[in-house]
Symmetry: C2
Subunit: 257 residues, 2 copies
Amino acid sequence: MNADPNSEGGRKIRSVEISLNIIDRLQNEDRLTVGELARTLDHSKSTIHNHLSTLEQRRMIVRDETGYRLSLRLLDMANRVRSQVGNYEVINKEVETLAEETGEIAQFGIEEHGMVSYFEKERGNNSVETASRVGTQQPIYSTSLGKTILAFLPADRVEEIVAEASFEPKTTRTITSSDELYEELERIRDQGYGIDNEENIEGLRCVSAPVTSGDTVLGAISLTGPSSRFTHDKLHDELADAVTRAANVIELNTKFS
Amino acid sequence: MNADPNSEGGRKIRSVEISLNIIDRLQNEDRLTVGELARTLDHSKSTIHNHLSTLEQRRMIVRDETGYRLSLRLLDMANRVRSQVGNYEVINKEVETLAEETGEIAQFGIEEHGMVSYFEKERGNNSVETASRVGTQQPIYSTSLGKTILAFLPADRVEEIVAEASFEPKTTRTITSSDELYEELERIRDQGYGIDNEENIEGLRCVSAPVTSGDTVLGAISLTGPSSRFTHDKLHDELADAVTRAANVIELNTKFS
DNA sequence: GTGATCGTTCCTCTGGGGCGAACATATAAG
DNA sequence: CTTATATGTTCGCCCCAGAGGAACGATCAC
């Protein structure tokens, strides 16, 4: 066990952090100027200037008459990441058909940094609006995708993740202790799919099925909808079947590495 | 004039460059290990280790049982960039309809770092295969998109770009001198659209129309196809009309900043 | 067993890089 | 016109960040 909670891995490199802070700022607000960045990030203009120069020469950012913004190179990088992570063709197709068939939101997620990251999202005709977007993260313990992935991860990895989890209650039903979570994971392993009963967002329920290859989880696929349409029976019956079927199709079409 | 050709802007920050090199390597090959990176980038393992730690804590990369890869966060960043650059909805729709109507490749590009960056690409039913992908760059002087954008950029910016241009011949028809290029830009301004007559890839021709807002160019929209189908007359007549029409639609639906 | 890898941690020592001041330009207010 | 405050840029100093190297522990192959 590690006594120091903040001793995560090696030393952090300050100048890299400055550049990453600049990138973070630019991803939220484009066309920022040297002065603005220097002020908000609390560094001298010369420092920011040097960082912007290096980032521009490496084509991460672009300058424009009104300021700096992130470069389109990120679109290429994103495409490469997509093809690295998994069989995008198959996953995309299955998420799409799932959304069409049910009319709800279908998503595919993987575990990253102890959270769920959304890899693909498709909205059906009747689907509700949610804030989740491809490439964003959600807690692993309050989402069906997260819990379902967690249920099939190796035990040591699960412990690591649980140890770092904050268990912030997102709704009144959010799991707030590791004991509860471990019970839930057991249940998911038994029934083969995971449920989110308004644990992440009030009024929304989800079902997820794991996508595995051999003994490793690649991710999970889910359906999300309002509690009014996602009744207990429907959730555990036809919707659970639908996500499980989709998960199986992805598994069959995925070459294991 | 500056005597030193390498004195582009401020000082380059070494540690940022190391991290960017790591990212570059990871975007080409995923699941790289500390050792591999240390070897190929010629740094000590401890150095690489520290960089990887910082990048992981900032969620730029993820570690996996087999090594490191880029994080899905990049998908989110890419989405943000897309919405920052322009009215993605409209551009996407016009590029799509252009590809459908003609059956060829339709693309939208903007200028970045003195090159054309592809913002959107759509392939029609009869379209040829090309290597260009969204987020990648091509020379500005050998593509119709590039030349068309260049033709409507402010004079001083054009000079900057031309001064930095390498004029590498991609085919026998590539423009290889600034004088030729300036003539070509004049021609494009006269006729209102730009042509690529096998200047970038042997056997391929393109037509592009500029998308402007007030007196600034936002980018250009193009059609690409084989010279056999893209005859001289068709190119200057119906295809030029098609891209011009699409450009106008985008202009009308784009709020100027 | 040995000899490779793998990743991690620590210490040392130097030059990289953050800071601040001075420098250009530019638009605005007086 | 001057003064003022904004912008981005360049330069040099001085110190600590950060790259390197060695030693460590853990695996895996033989």
